[in-house]
Structure formats: C-alpha cells, structure tokens
Subunit: 105 residues, 2 copies
DNA sequence: TCCATAATTCTAGCAATATAGAAATATGGA
DNA sequence: TCCATATTTCTATATTGCTAGAATTATGGA
C-alpha cells in the first residue's frame, strides 16, 4: 500500500462516527447493511450518515450496492488488511520484534 | 485498546506530515532523533514541526526527552502495536480470515 | 555575562471537517 | 399515476486543523 492510500485510510477511520460505522459494517460481515439499519445503530441524521458513508467509500474502506430502493454498504476487508500490513511494515521497518513481540494471533 | 484511544492514534497518523515524521522516528529506532534532525529530514518550518510533534505525543505515538538544549523524540512502538491489535481485532471480529487470509508475517 | 543555537509558543489566516435541516432524486407499491 | 419510503445533495454554520513568521524560553559555551 502506498503512503498516500494509507493516509486516506487512516483519515477515514480517524473519527468517532466513521469508526463506529465501519466497526458496525465489520460486525455485519460480507452481508453488510442498508443505510437505515446503520442509522438506527449509530444514531446520526441521514445527511450526516450519508456524508460519512461517502467518506468511507472514498477512503476505499467500504463499498456500496444498489438494492432496489435500498443501498447496501459493506466493509472492504482487503483495504483494511492493506492498512494493517502497511502499519506493520512501516512501524517495524527492520525491527519486527518492536511492534509484534508476542505471537501473531 | 479503547476506541477513544484508537481514534486518537488514527488521527495522529492520518496526515502527511505527521505520518512522515512518525515513519522517520520508526526508522531511527529506539534512539530516536532530535528536532533539528527531523526538520532536515521532513522539511517543515520549526513551528509546524513542533506543532505536529506535539500532536504525536498527545496521541501517544511518540515520547520526548530533554537532552541538554536538544529535545529527543522517539516513536512509541507499543502504542503502535496497540493500534495494530485494535484494528486487527475490530476489523475481523469473529472472522479473522477476512483480514489476515495469508500467513501472519 | 553575553551570544548563538535549539525548540516552543503566540498569532493569524486559510482550508477542511462535522453536523443537521430542507430540498431533491429514485424506487416500489397501491 | 400518486404516494410513502430510502437515500442523497444542497446549504449553512461552527469547529477544528495546517501552516509559517515573529516572539519567547532555555541551554551551553566563550
């Protein structure tokens, strides 16, 4: 993962509402959730939620699919994996033991 | 790691200049670097650099130590590990294979 | 003591972000 | 076609973040 992408992913998650949304999508798994469901879970106005969902998609952390008049969002797990790998690599360059002293779980 | 802490860590890294500073500190290892050295590496005005170093410290991602008239900064590797663990856990809740399909490196 | 150097804080301006109400768009069903 | 529902976009506002020049503080050396 490029540094530019990493910054965008980090920024995507670096906010209470967005991290909550993303975490909820993660819990939902590959089935994702439609907007209304997320709104009930997170408790934000529709416009604010839409704003943040757009942010997550733009950051590559979520994807959306039309489903009739519903729109389903789903976490992008591979983007997440990419971010974790980036952090693991660039936090530990040449010194893996510093960041992952315990066994990889 | 608590979610609040995670957001703070993510925000600490979610910016070009700060991520560059942090990555440089990581490369420096436990020896860290003094401010002037970082400034030459990153190329920011003193005040801006100071502003971001404060941000990293506030986010728990770096620590500072007086050294005569120099101030040495060092990456906080365990905070980084905490963040990676948080992301690994909450990105994969109940579905570890989704985010770490390959072997843990 | 006086000066040069290291770093921070102060100040100010500009850009970006977060929020929500209102209006607009789109879909499915009666 | 008309309406209710789902979601987004528009608009506006308040807050926060990024940047750097100038002033300030602190240290070590001559």
């Amino acid at each position: 993962m490029e540094t530019k992408t990493a910054v965008r992913s980090l920024a995507g998650l670096a906010q209470d509402s967005r991290l909550s949304i993303f975490r909820y999508l993660v819990v939902c798994g590959p089935g994702g959730a439609v907007v209304n469901e997320i709104a009930e879970e997170i408790g934000l106005s529709g416009s604010t939620l839409s704003f943040h969902l757009k942010g997550l998609v733009h950051a590559g952390l979520a994807e959306s699919f039309s489903e009739g008049r519903y729109i389903r969002y789903r976490a992008n797990f591979s983007a997440m994996k990419g971010l974790i790998d980036y952090l693991t690599l660039h936090c530990c360059e040449g010194h893996p033991e510093r960041c992952r002293p315990a066994k990889a779980s």
